[in-house]
Amino acid sequence: MIVELIQQIFNGLVMGSVYVLVALGLTVIFGILGVAHFAHGSVAMFGGYVTYFLAQKFGLTLFPAMFLAMPVGALLGVLIERLAYRPVRDAPHINAFIIALGLSLLIDKVNLLAFGADQVVIPSPYRRVIEVGGVAMTELRLYILTTAIALVVAMGLVIQKTKIGKAVRAVAQNRPAAILMGVNVEQVSLVVFGLSSALGIAAGALIGALFAVAPGVADGLTIKGFAVLILGGLGSFPGAIIGGLVLGVSESLAAGLISSAYKDVIAFLIMIVVLLFRPEGLMGKRS
């Protein structure tokens, strides 16, 4: 029983670490621009496809292909910010909301046209299984967990330790004051979109290696990403990390201990419960 429990928690942490990558992008974008970036899951899937393409085309393994795909994703993020969200920056929020929905449809269809409707599994050479006291951990899952942790730490360092990170935090805390202090808001939002999209691309690549990239996967990721946001607190960086891991583990435990039929319901249940009893999220501040 204990072994099974630890196994479920390990499985959940791996999935949760991928959710964290998706949710971090969403939460930083929300913090800076107040935009619910629904297309983020589709961007992640685009990343999975690009990673697969690079791996096939140049005979690369998973991680080199993923690190090559991340700048492509950053570029896509920058383009999205400039072409889609910036023109409506000063318009009512509903405009950005509708653009976000349209964008997710658009990117989904581009994925479909460019890469087809078949599922794509990104090949990875990491097939070994390490068993510790009955708990089986595949090499791939361990690498995914460590890669996700490394990326989150890197993102955290950028936000906490660099000048541009300071600017990002300033804009998130108080936009007018940041502008008065001479922070270049346009540059900040470009950087935020670039970094967030690169993390999303990494998430898509990891999902593609662990499972597959296919039409329909993006919707699930976006929903899970927003569930994490609500759970952790909108705009909260530590909230996204804790929320992602909690969601991953609770899905895994629910499927294992209650019933596999309820696995996908968990994300929605968590959203409802948090909104009812702690609308600001686990790490959010009460306003």
Partner: protein, 411 residues
């Protein structure tokens, strides 16, 4: 000649109907006539693993028939033309797709139908239409129990195979079993129900039934639970891609017990997801579909034609659709009409197994299709060894008594 007609957006429906009417066999004049067949199949989405091979199999049969001079009906010579339509393995899409084929393209003969959900939806209304519907891989039982006189299916229903599989797994000595599958779908429920009856009779017990949804690829939670139960064997039911993920993840989690399953699918389809080591020893208990060891020269010729045209190995289910086209050819020639679907249906009912058929049909009362419009082939046990499925044994199955049972369910 295969022609893909997608949305004709530029034409109004009146124009489309007029055009279709002008092109249709009945209205055209000349020595060489064209007979249009509508093929509805899952050409994209999760069912495409079964639908695309059916599309290719039909294309081969049509090529062969056309190259040999077409179909001779009442002094006229008909060349076949296929109008393809994608139902994406979705019931709503399938209903729309078949309506388009009937109403817009004026098709009288429908072939394809790889997937149970969409095919069941079409089967609910097809009895009222003036068409013949030939069903392939879709194995949900009710498709041939709805009382449609114009529907014929080449693949036996899922529970016909499930019962034989239950006997086999019990004989293999498994006493306890954990099941994981796409158990929301009727086809897998029916297979499992028949399986469980026979398996329990043989002294076995099912410890757990775990579900995954269509589109799920992460089954580690369910498999971890199964690992904790430590059954003698596990049984997996579902579409190829998902079943492949179960085999991959069960190997990753270190499940060492024998793994049985029901999915079909060829080697290339499994190798996209899992490795040879992860697949080693897995059993697939399914109808004896395309298997050169078991079927001999017709299967060999079919594989050769398929590989030549498409440069890939056919999937086990592909012949269901190939055989449909030859059934249609013989029935049309016998009925002497391409317009009177009642006569054609009567002719199909009288047919013995057609000589060109790739699969080895078990005739009921000397006829290929029983009074339910259902054909039967034997069931087989296949095991993955090194890099391929190997035919191990025949699973004894009684088509005559199953046919009687099916008759009792028919409306």
């Amino acid at each position: 000649m295969v022609k893909i007609i997608r949305e004709k957006r530029s034409l109004g429906w009146v124009g489309a109907l007029a055009l279709a009417g002008a092109l249709s066999a009945t209205a055209s004049v000349g020595a060489e006539k064209v007979l249009k067949i509508g093929q509805n199949d899952a050409l994209s989405g999760p069912g495409a693993v079964y639908g695309l091979p059916q599309q290719k199999a039909v294309a081969i049969a049509v090529d062969q028939i056309n190259a040999a001079g077409g179909i001779k009906v009442g002094g006229d010579n008909y060349k076949l033309e296929v109008i393809l339509s994608d139902d994406k393995a979705n019931p709503t899409e399938a209903t729309n797709s078949v309506r388009r084929l009937i109403d817009r393209d004026n098709v009288k003969f429908l072939a394809g139908f790889c997937c149970s959900g969409p095919t069941s939806a079409v089967a609910t209304f097809i009895g009222r239409e003036d068409v013949i519907m030939l069903v392939g891989t879709a194995a949900e039982r009710s498709i041939t129990t709805l009382g449609n006189a114009n529907l014929f299916r080449t693949r036996p229903p899922a529970d016909y195979t499930g019962a034989a599989a239950g006997v086999f797994v019990a004989q293999k000595g498994a006493k306890s079993l954990a099941v994981i599958g796409s158990l929301d779908a009727a086809i897998y429920q029916q297979y499992l129900a028949a399986f469980e009856t026979e398996f329990t009779k043989g002294g076995g017990k099912i410890l757990a039934k775990e579900t995954f949804a269509l589109g799920d690829r992460d089954m580690t939670s369910q498999l971890t639970k199964i690992k904790g139960l430590n059954p003698d064997a596990i049984f997996t039911l579902g579409y190829v891609e998902q079943v492949a993920f179960v085999y991959r993840q069960s190997a990753e989690l270190g499940l060492k017990m024998p793994r049985y399953g029901f999915s079909g699918g060829n080697e290339a389809q499994f190798m996209k997801v899992a490795t040879q080591e992860q697949m080693e020893g897995v059993w697939d208990l399914r109808p004896t579909e395309l298997t050169i060891e078991a079927l001999g020269p017709t299967a060999k010729a079919f594989v050769a034609a398929y590989e030549k045209k498409f440069n890939e190995y056919p999937t086990p289910n592909a012949p269901y659709a190939y055989d449909q086209i030859y059934v249609l050819k013989h029935a049309l020639e016998k009925a002497g009409t391409v317009t009177d679907t009642k006569k054609v249906a009567a002719a199909i009912r009288e047919l013995p197994p057609v000589p060109e058929a790739v699969l080895k049909y078990a005739p009921v009362g000397g006829r290929m299709f029983d009074e339910n419009g259902q054909a039967y082939i034997s069931n087989g046990a296949f095991q993955w060894k090194k890099d391929k499925w190997v035919y191990i044994a025949d699973l004894p199955s009684d088509s005559a008594s199953y046919s009687k049972f099916l008759r009792t369910l028919r409306k």
